[in-house]
Amino acid sequence: MEAGSIFSRRRPSPELLLRGAGLSYLGVMVVLPLLAMAWQATAPGPAAFWAAVTEPYAWHALKLTFLTAFVMMAVGAVTGTATAWVLVRYEFPGRGLVNALIDLPFAVPTVVTGVMLVALYGPDSVVGAILADAGWKVIYDQPGIILALLFVTYPFVIRSVQPVLLAMDRAEEEAAATLGAGPCATFFQVVLPSLWPSILTGSALAFSRALGEYGSVVMVAGNQPLLTRTAPIHVFGEIESGNRHGALAVSAVLLAASLLILVALHALQRRGEARDAS
């Protein structure tokens, strides 16, 4: 402690420098690009911004992006929670391996994800043919987008719910059982309320991720305007065709959505901590 105080009294500069460097790095890498985009997107005025966002192609792309992300989130919240439950509560051979495989979708390059899905569900594959016979078009259509998003966001909910389930006091469930609650009532009235924050956190992160997913979606769904062209693909296309402002405006919407989710998550966590700590 003495050494520390002497150090800081005599030579305060290294510490200051380090702090400054850290903050500057954040500024240069994150804040500046963000500001640059926000400024350029809104510089021509709100009317122009609004026009760029509501232009039919852009509007459809945004709608499609949010819709598919929402569907993915709803499905992922249920399957992710169920998977985490199985991993935590059941002993089965190969559980360790399964647990390790959960993170695989994070490691697979998204374009490869797209290729894998096309190989499985594409029109040339057996599964794709069966689906086509049943009248379901998955690849090169909107269901394909949801499939791709589910794949790339697979670990989020699981990894967020799993530790909470592990740390959960089983006695609460036992207490519910002794009070007459069956497994369903216990899950929905006792377990789920404790899991909600973690499910929401995982889902929100997955949602954010889904908003910006490009590689797998473009492989699986193609780039069909007004059908499968999501916002990120639209942004890329606009840049390619020289419409910088159109790209910036749509990007700004995506960015705003992500920021909003982040802020909401923080607020949620604060509230949860406040209740648990008091």
Partner: protein, 419 residues
Amino acid sequence: MSVGPFVDVDAGPSRARPAAGPSVAFHHHRGAWPPPRVEAWRPEDGREEKNVAIEVRGLSKKYGSFQAVNDVSFEVESGKLVALLGPSGSGKSTILRTIAGLESADSGSVMLTGEDATDLPVQQRGVGFVFQHYALFRHMTIRDNIGFGLKIRGVPRAEARRRVDELLDLIQLGGYANRYPSQLSGGQRQRVALARALAPRPKVLLLDEPFGALDAKVRDELRTWLRRLHDEVHVTSLFVTHDQREAFEVSDQIVVLAEGRVRQIGPPQTLYEQPADPFVAGFLGAINVLPLRSLKAGSVGGGPEEWLDMPPAEHAEAYVRPHDLDVFAARDGKPYWPARVERITPLGGVVRLDLRIAPEHPLYIEVPRDRSNGVGFATGDEVYVCPRHINIYDRVRGSFDPVDVHRAIGLSLESGAGI
């Protein structure tokens, strides 16, 4: 039952052990809450008619190769507060959880108020369970916690509300109805847990180390409170503890367990005064263990080894409680044990004397303060001790029998022992 718990072990030293079952005679009836079903009188048992709320028969449970519970049988009379007392690993929690249906036994049966509950799921057993770490629903208010069992059972809202209010009054937390468990102290949380368990009017109340997570002062208060509460509501209660003082203070009956087996069943004072075996003697309060061989070696002749009506100095030990010994300054011609005072520790109401007896054996005695003043011992003094009550444990025969000291001394004096 392979280990017989005994209640009537106050006979002479050479008395054979009765192969009695675990039945315990209960002498007074209290009203049960709710009124239990009257169990049919069973003449084949030869027992008097009584209401048995919990009956455990031949319960066994193994975890891997570890025998957690080994052929345990006992019963709890309606309206009683009974303790399952034992060291950790004695299987007491497993037994309690098996009665609740939270765990299943490998063999044996559980009867609750006369009905076979062995195969009933936990939800249908109608037991209230209180957990060591409260296990309150943390996202629910106190009111919702207490009302949970009523809501699940579909009790009408207004009635449930009345019942919850009633219980909030009972646990003296009326003003806390809308708080969350995290806003309450440990003692308050455990009271809420108790109210939650009582709300649906369970047939029996099971408490798993209910005070174990609390600090000493709160624990004492809550114990007294639980005892008073039980006297008010009379719900048959079985609680698990490893703390013999807690069992003594709270319970009507104690079931002593060790290594998964019942060692003895009886009212606290009976267990203390008439322990069935060395384990019970040592677990329920302090006790001195003195090898008879060493007593003999150090005796000056005419010592206790002569008046003890026992064969076997080689493999027998005397068990004697610190307050069951008298200390004298002079031998006075009596067959007392000579000893030397090593340390005198005043402990408020009593004085602890650490003695060294017959060449090399420590012995500690507690005597009332005023008496020790009267005797006026000092460290290093030679004193003489005489037990008022001892038990002799014979390792070979496995017997643990009390000795009628006065009679024994009388006999040895007649036969010329002493001076």
